[in-house]
């Protein structure tokens, strides 16, 4: 337990720690790193213009942190590509990249093909639907990779959740995170419960780890990254950064059901390939979630034992009960 707490303390950052972009660029240049930024898109004309404008202007022109900025598109029918190109992004159709391997439709496909198309030592992925885009969404994620060589993969987390009268605030992810992923991780990969928002669509990673893992093309890509890199390198190479508030589209419950279905496929494939389905381990009884107090995150571990009663028909007292008629 102490190892987990120590990881949480050492590898959880707040974007505010990296506000000095001049220093960050200096450090990046000293280490000879190149950084590529990739936005996967499908019909995002309403938000893509602002994302490209702000991130390119602030992180390429004002502070040269990002060396390459690409939008990789799945075949948008709206003006996504026109708007992105207008504000200076390199625009690619996923189907044009590595055409010999064919074309599959999904966000994971674009992320995977970005590894081939982009040149950076670090690739930062940012979703296209963030309506309150800010440079912190990029520098907050790449900074731990610039500063700490042992870190290879940095996840974003967001939102200071609601205050309780006690002053403690439970750390909330999305609905799928809270009712699907967190319980699954607590049962099968308790250490990964340290990742506060395992499904966040913003993360940065070193090429050397991205090129070694498979990419589900659909909803399971974020989950598979965590499971595969955890299996290869353990928890120590992960980090996570608090990016404060993220405003994005709200999804319908139906859409979340479909998403959960995709994630479960990815999850059970991993359980199967890692031998966890055939040789089912004893299930954990500790449920892990987060609380934050004075800006410090800590894990809250609760024992949840689902005790069971046998069928009533096996109970002697039930069988011998006197029935009044």
């Amino acid at each position: 337990m102490s190892k987990q707490k120590s990881w949480l303390e050492r590898n959880t950052f707040h974007h505010g720690a990296f506000w000095d972009l001049i220093k960050l660029v200096e450090e990046k240049e000293k280490k000879g790193l190149k950084i590529s930024l990739c936005i996967p898109t499908l019909n995002e004309e309403k938000t893509i213009g602002k994302e490209v404008l702000i991130l390119r202007s602030e992180l390429m022109e004002r502070y040269p942190l990002v060396d390459e900025f690409a939008v990789i598109d799945s075949g948008s029918k709206d003006k996504t590509l026109e708007v992105a190109a207008n504000y200076g992004a390199d625009v690619y159709l996923a189907s044009d990249i590595l055409p010999e391997v064919g074309d599959k439709r999904g966000k994971g496909e674009n992320l995977w093909k970005a590894i081939h198309q982009l040149k950076g030592d670090i690739i930062c992925y940012v979703d296209a639907d963030i309506s309150n885009i800010h440079p912190r969404f990029v520098y907050g994620l790449v900074a731990p990779l610039i500063h700490r060589e042992e870190i290879t993969y940095v996840k974003a987390f967001y939102d200071r959740p609601l205050n309780y009268s006690s002053g403690l605030r439970p750390s909330g992810g999305g609905r799928v995170t809270e009712i699907l992923i967190r319980p699954l991780f607590a049962l099968f990969y308790p250490e990964l419960s340290n990742i506060i928002q395992p499904l966040s669509g913003e993360y940065a990673a070193r090429r050397e780890v991205l090129e070694k893992i498979p990419f589900p093309i659909g909803y399971g890509v974020e989950t598979s990254h965590l499971l595969d890199l955890y299996e290869l390198y353990g928890l120590e190479t992960f980090a996570q950064t608090d990016l404060d508030r993220r405003v994005h589209r709200n999804q319908t419950t139906n859409a979340l059901g479909k998403m959960s279905f995709g994630i479960l496929q990815t999850f059970f494939n991993r359980l199967h390939s890692q031998g966890k389905l055939d040789k089912m381990p004893d299930l954990e009884t500790f449920y892990r979630r987060f609380e934050v107090e004075d800006g410090n995150y800590s894990q809250l571990i609760q024992e949840v034992v689902e005790e069971e009663r046998p069928p009533m028909i096996q109970i002697e007292g039930y069988l011998n009960r006197s029935l009044s008629t």
């Binding site: 309403k46 938000t47 213009g49 404008l53 702000i54 708007v83 309150n132």
Partner: protein, 395 residues
Amino acid sequence: MPIEQIDSDTFLHGLLNDISGRIEQIRQKRDSFLTDAVLLGEIPSPTFGEGDRIRTVVDRFRENGLDNPLVDEFGNASAQLPGTVGESSILIMAHADSVFSPDVRHEIQVGSDFMTGPGIADNAIGLAAMISLPRLLSDLGIQLRDNLILVANSKSLGRANMEGARGFLETMSLPAKAGICVEGSTLGRLSYSGLGTLRGEITLQVPSDYDWKRFGAAGAISHLTGLINKIREIPIPKEPKTQIVFGGLKCGSSYNTSPRQGTLRFEITSEGDEVIGQMEDNLNEICEQFSAETGTLVNMEVVAKRKNCGIPFTHPLVKTTRTIMQEAGITPQVDPSTGDLNALILGGLPAVTLGLTTVENLREVNETVHLEPLYAGMAQLITLIEAIDQGICEV
């Protein structure tokens, strides 16, 4: 023609010859000021609550390497770009407050040729243009002899009555030789005079002991309607030009209950200060009489009052501005100001207000600025600064 005049004309001619090239250069360098417009526009900044936006402006001044970035006692952010000679200064001011409350979602959408969102035109884009001037001047290879004083002023709109701008002018340490107020709306706007203005609120209350059985008894809405009709009977002179605008009416919250209180907001503008004085007297009399006749409590509060002011149409600053606009393909539309320009002119500074681009849905949540005309708008601003710097705009 005096030699000095020839030099000025020659210099202005040189500036104007280059204006279409300059518009193109600004288009190439647009990203940083469009970015500032979005980042600033997404920070709510209601009048009297501009603190967050002002802090971001000061950070930007600091990042841009300006001298003395600070927030003053009036809540204004200011900084200076030192000139190569630095004997005199030019004041550039853009108001930081907006008419939108923080409850409104401040989200700016960026399209290929437009930006849309609450307050983007009034005045996030003007603010961003002012902030980006040092960087743009440097990109365009322009070195000013004069210092440039940049100010994002707080408390400009409505009840605030230009408190920020007036405060800055009163305490300004570097005397300026001219000033420009920068507004997003609307390209072609040329203000060089401030209209005499009186803004007020009339509050009508139905007292708790009101006799609901009396003849003509009514709730606050009916009474306010009657009061408005009385005010509309005040004769409005054609000369000097005068108008009264009813800008807000707050009263009631249900379908079937007569409200007991309501507030009417109005603004009188006139080219004649004495007319404003007479109308204020008239309004006071109407309120008093209406109160006595209806048994309601009627109170008028003047929240802002300012005199007519201006510089002549023939002033070199105005003349040069018109010439620059025309060369940039902009049709000047003379429009007396009721905003910060008054504070500058009343503070003794020759000044104009310029608009930067064409705008739709002004002061609505879907306020939209067009980007293509913005580059000409920025070119007129920068060229005018250069002209002032060269002494062309002085009497």
